[in-house]
Symmetry: C2
């Protein structure tokens, strides 16, 4: 994917706040090229305010008079459309469209075209595009805010860009090494011994206690530092207690 060859085109955006929010959403996801076709109210302080730290995207943005100008040099043009608006045309959801856009951007400039807040794109505009992109929504309410739609599409492109970098498991960026199985076994022996000494585990009738504790601590995927803390607690506990003598207890008839 070549993000520098991907531009976001807004056709006649009506609210300057949305333009700013679009710029922020784009920069959050690593996109920088914004083109506006005949915005109703721009430049505007609302746009700058909503852009927050993406003012550079606004400053670099182009304003043109027609959609044709905005997409003239693009070899792949994608129109964002709502389900209601669709004319029979090749249509894909945002995730699958992002894959097409990413692939195309290695060969040509790509435009992703978003319509007016109230009416979207008209049929003439839709028919200028190679692909229609329809963000999947709930049936109950399918109309996304303009900047939200740009956010979702930009996010999908960003996810493709970083696909190989994101850790697949929650512990991948952990601050200590995972506990080895050998150390886990030492811990379980230590735990069982201590639980016997404090009187919680009867060695003669251990029931399901150790399997349950094994499951609990295994699920945790402890790191070495955490394991050392737990071992330390056991050691200190052993020092401070008067260990139960289970053999003696067994000889006491009333217990």
């Amino acid at each position: 994917m070549d993000v520098n060859r991907i531009r976001i085109v807004l056709v006649e955006p009506q609210h300057p706040g949305n333009i700013g929010a679009v710029a922020r959403a784009m920069k959050n996801m690593g996109l920088g090229r914004l083109v506006m076709v005949a915005p109703e109210q721009y430049p505007d302080p609302q746009a700058i305010w909503r852009a927050m730290s993406a003012k550079d995207v606004l400053e670099a943005a182009q304003v043109v008079d027609t959609l044709d100008e905005a997409i003239a040099d693009c070899g792949f043009v994608v129109a964002a459309t709502s389900r209601d608006q669709r004319i029979p045309w090749p249509v894909l959801d945002a995730r699958r469209s992002a894959a097409e856009i990413a692939a195309a951007s290695t060969q040509t400039d790509v435009a992703i075209v978003f319509g007016r807040e109230d009416n979207g794109l008209n049929n003439e505009e839709l028919m200028r595009c190679n692909l229609h992109l329809a963000i999947s929504t709930s049936d109950a309410y399918s109309s996304l805010n303009l900047a939200m739609a740009v956010q979702v599409v930009s996010y999908e492109l960003h996810m493709l860009a970083v696909a190989d970098e994101l850790p697949a498991a929650p512990d991948a960026q952990w601050d200590a090494a995972p506990a080895t199985q050998e150390n886990m076994e030492r811990f379980f022996v230590h735990l069982e011994q201590t639980l016997g000494e404090v009187g919680f585990l009867n060695p003669a009738a251990p029931r399901q206690l150790m399997p349950r504790l094994r499951r609990l601590y295994s699920r945790l995927r402890l790191d070495e530092m955490e394991l050392n803390i737990l071992r330390g607690i056991l050691t200190e506990t052993q020092k401070r207690i008067d260990p139960v003598d289970w053999d003696a207890r067994a000889r006491e008839p009333s217990r």
Copy 2:
């Protein structure tokens, strides 16, 4: 996934407009349960205005005093956090977190907790959560608007909910049947013949013309209606032309 067991929790949201935008983003993606912890300015007309057709989500929303109240009955609590904010804790990106949330929602109530616009969640709040969710962003600008963050997370949950329903190829919802290979072959024969008659294709020296046209029309994945249109054009063209006689041409020395 049970969307009714998934709630969005906003901790001390500062801008009522964001609350409305959150409600809209949720409803767009099929979520309905919103809980606010000590919102700064709520109820507020800005919230209602930005919610658009998601006013019902605002009306059903709960306002509570503390995060503990908001998550008391939840068996799985996920905190949205920015990369800068992370304390060493299990952390996943939005897509992988959504999978965990969806799975957990079949067994227990789940809260997804979002912090303040300016400062996010503090460490005490983060430590109340089972998992931290960090939306992957560009390094250049990692701070998403609150409602945008809710949009991305809600979108990921929705994508899991509809995963099996979305067409994988752009023609899956087409309005005519795809052209059969048999009819495509008839078309190519007809095309080759017509191109010969109009003088564009020399049967004695066809070069790469037909392979190129085959590739072009095959890539299109024509439907039967489109194929009939193209055949009709060829037939009408044949009727109106004076066909080139290539054998005669071959005998003309100067051509």
